[in-house]
């Protein structure tokens, strides 16, 4: 039987909140639990394993030709590059747009909170497939003004990530005592840009990281808008490639899934470390 964590021995005060000290949860490693986890494990790993098997089929044994083709196919490489660049642009746009707004809602504009929250939840209610219908004329203007690079997709991608990013940043701001920090900085003579850059951002870095990673995952996986607006990104190219050479498509799909998995796993470790410094009370 695994020993429960010794929470009772060292009660930690969660930052700001007045919580009861956590009583250790008794972990009952029941057979039922293990069975459930095992069954789901097989179920979910099977397609991934199948992808590996499928993409390494060769004449008389295993071959990594499909995997090598990933870096050799110029269309694919350029599409992957475009997707990565789009990810960076989207994250930048999201941060530039949301951090000031979220901060101001917390500090000065609490009455606008409902409106901003509603706006940020709207993209969940407007399916991408519907948004693309309405945004086509807008993009006609965008490509007219800025050329027809696929990177212009970043504009609409920022909209798509709004719900997840805003919630992450909002939670991050809620966890720190923003008002006190800002007032302390202001009383020491800091101007607003300094407050934002030196006080707010460092203290919500965990939330910003989380929002960024979620945005990257979403951008790398986006297909609907890119495809229907006739742009080229990674998912569109994978799809087109699939008709031609399924093995390469499967290989790059698997690679993308694994990369995103590693990304999110790293995030979960980084995020935890930042948010978990508790204060131990002695006597």
């Amino acid at each position: 039987m695994t020993a429960p964590t010794p929470d009772v021995l060292v009660p930690t005060a969660a930052a700001g909140r007045r919580d009861a000290p956590a009583t250790p949860r008794r972990h009952r490693p029941s057979a039922a639990r293990r069975l459930v986890l095992g069954a789901f494990g097989v179920l979910f790993l099977l397609p991934l394993f199948a992808m590996l098997e499928f993409s390494t089929r060769g004449v008389g044994g295993r071959s990594f030709a499909a995997w090598r083709a990933i870096v050799q196919d110029p269309d694919l490489v350029s599409a992957i590059t475009i997707s990565l660049e789009l990810a960076v642009l989207t994250v930048a746009g999201m941060l530039l747009l949301l951090v000031p707004v979220a901060t101001w809602v917390h500090l000065r504009l609490p009455h606008l909170r409902r409106l901003i929250e509603f706006i940020c939840l709207l993209p969940l209610t407007i399916p991408a497939i519907v948004l693309v219908v309405g945004i086509a004329p807008i993009y006609a203007w965008v490509t007219y003004l800025l050329g027809d690079s696929s990177l212009t997709l970043a504009f609409v991608y920022v909209i798509l990530v709004l719900p997840y990013a805003y919630r992450a940043i909002d939670n991050g701001l809620g966890a720190i005592d923003l008002r006190t920090l800002a007032e302390a900085a202001r009383s020491l003579g800091a101007g607003w840009p300094t407050v934002l850059a030196r006080v707010v951002v460092p203290n919500i870095s965990g939330a910003l990281l989380s929002a960024s990673f979620l945005s990257v995952a979403l951008v790398l996986g986006e297909f609907t808008l890119a495809s229907l607006l006739a742009f080229n990104n990674m998912q569109v190219t994978i799809n087109l490639l699939g008709k031609r050479d399924a093995a390469v498509s499967v290989a790059v799909s698997l690679a993308a899934l694994l990369l995103a998995f590693v990304l999110l796993l790293v995030l979960s470790y980084v995020g935890r470390r930042r948010g978990s410094s508790g204060v131990t009370e002695e006597g």
Binding site: T23, R25, H27, S30, L37, F40, F44, L46, P47, L48, A50, M51, F54, S55, L97, L98, P100, R108, L109, I116, I119, L122, L124, T125, I126, P127, A128, I129, V130, L131, V133, G134, I135, V156, V158, I159, E183, W192, L214, A217, L220, G221, F223, T224, S227, L228, Q235, I238, G242, S249, V250, S253, A256, L257, A260, F261, L264, S268, Y269, R272
Partner: protein
């Protein structure tokens, strides 16, 4: 020596001198929010308006409900029916199985590697991309997929005796469920975290068993969160496009694929705004579901805070 009285600061408490400066500093936050509002208007609100307005316009740009009424024709009704059925079934299956998996993960250590891996994997599968998942399943149960070949060679079963179902509704059912379950885990696990250990111990100290805890306390408390999550799953499946587009290249059994048809200029003369009407129909369905979800979330949050 007595402690000095703390001076009370008035909200917002940030001093500015002079009426000009004060007026500016009162307006300044609104100015800061304006770029955001403008951006959202251009890239979200205006397109939505185009869709909604377009649904109620005919070809000569006059307001009408005839476009929307065309939606009641059997072709489109059937597409909506299939979309709703697909979403409902995958939401129900995904909700139950996902809740089960969430429970299994939740019973373990909170910061352990298992939970982290499952959450990261769930994040990928739920969010990532219908195209990658479509290819995952082609590799598994496609015509030359691993499982197809395996059962054919070892068990003599041909998976496709009744047609290649992967590239039709049954395929969608399977693949959608595959990403609904992780989404359920993502949404429902935090609700399970909201169950306080004191409740379980209180039940035990009053003489109750584990089963009684789930029946009288945990079950009822989790029900709003569970139903809300199921609704979210429904909306997710209903709005999904990429998987269907990757698997089904000809024909459009569900609404998102019908919209695709209208965008790739297979437009029937006299019905250009039909795509927008379909879009409007989708917005209505999803909006209703999301409103119910929001209401359930409020109840869930009150109990699971």
């Amino acid at each position: 020596m007595t402690a000095p009285q703390p001076t009370t600061t008035s909200a917002p408490g940030l001093a500015s001198s002079g009426t000009g400066r004060r007026r500016f500093s009162r307006l300044a936050p609104y100015l800061a929010v304006t770029p955001f509002l403008v951006y959202v208007t251009v890239f979200l609100l205006y397109p939505t308006l185009i869709v909604v307005a377009g649904a109620f316009t005919d070809d000569r740009n006059r307001p009408t409900v005839s476009t929307v009424r065309i939606l009641t024709e059997s072709v489109y009704l059937r597409a909506f029916a299939r979309s709703i059925e697909l979403s409902a079934v995958t939401a129900a299956v995904g909700a139950v199985l996902g809740a089960l998996l969430a429970w299994a993960v939740w019973s373990g250590p909170r910061d352990g590697p298992l939970r982290r891996s499952v959450m990261a994997a769930a994040g990928v599968l739920a969010q990532f991309g219908g195209v990658t998942l479509a290819f995952a399943f082609i590799a598994t149960v496609g015509l030359s997929g691993l499982v197809t070949v395996f059962v054919h060679d070892h068990l003599g079963i041909d998976l496709f005796t009744r047609g290649v179902w992967l590239f039709d509704m049954p395929g969608l059912l399977l693949v959608y469920t595959y990403f609904q379950i992780p989404l359920m885990v993502l949404v429902f696990l935090p609700a399970l975290d909201g169950l306080r250990p004191q409740w379980r111990e209180a039940v035990e100290s009053l003489g109750g068993s584990g089963w009684e805890f789930w029946r009288y306390v945990a079950g009822p408390v989790l029900l709003p969160a569970f139903l809300g999550a199921a609704l979210l799953l429904f909306a997710n499946a209903f709005s999904a496009y990429a998987t269907a587009a990757a698997l089904i290249s000809q024909g459009s059994p569900i609404v998102p694929l019908k919209i695709r048809g209208f965008l790739s200029s297979e437009v029937i003369l006299g019905q250009q705004n039909l795509g927008k009407a379909l879009g409007f129909g989708m917005i209505v369905v999803v909006a209703v579901v999301m409103t119910l979800y929001a209401l359930l979330q409020r109840r869930a949050a009150r109990w699971l805070r």
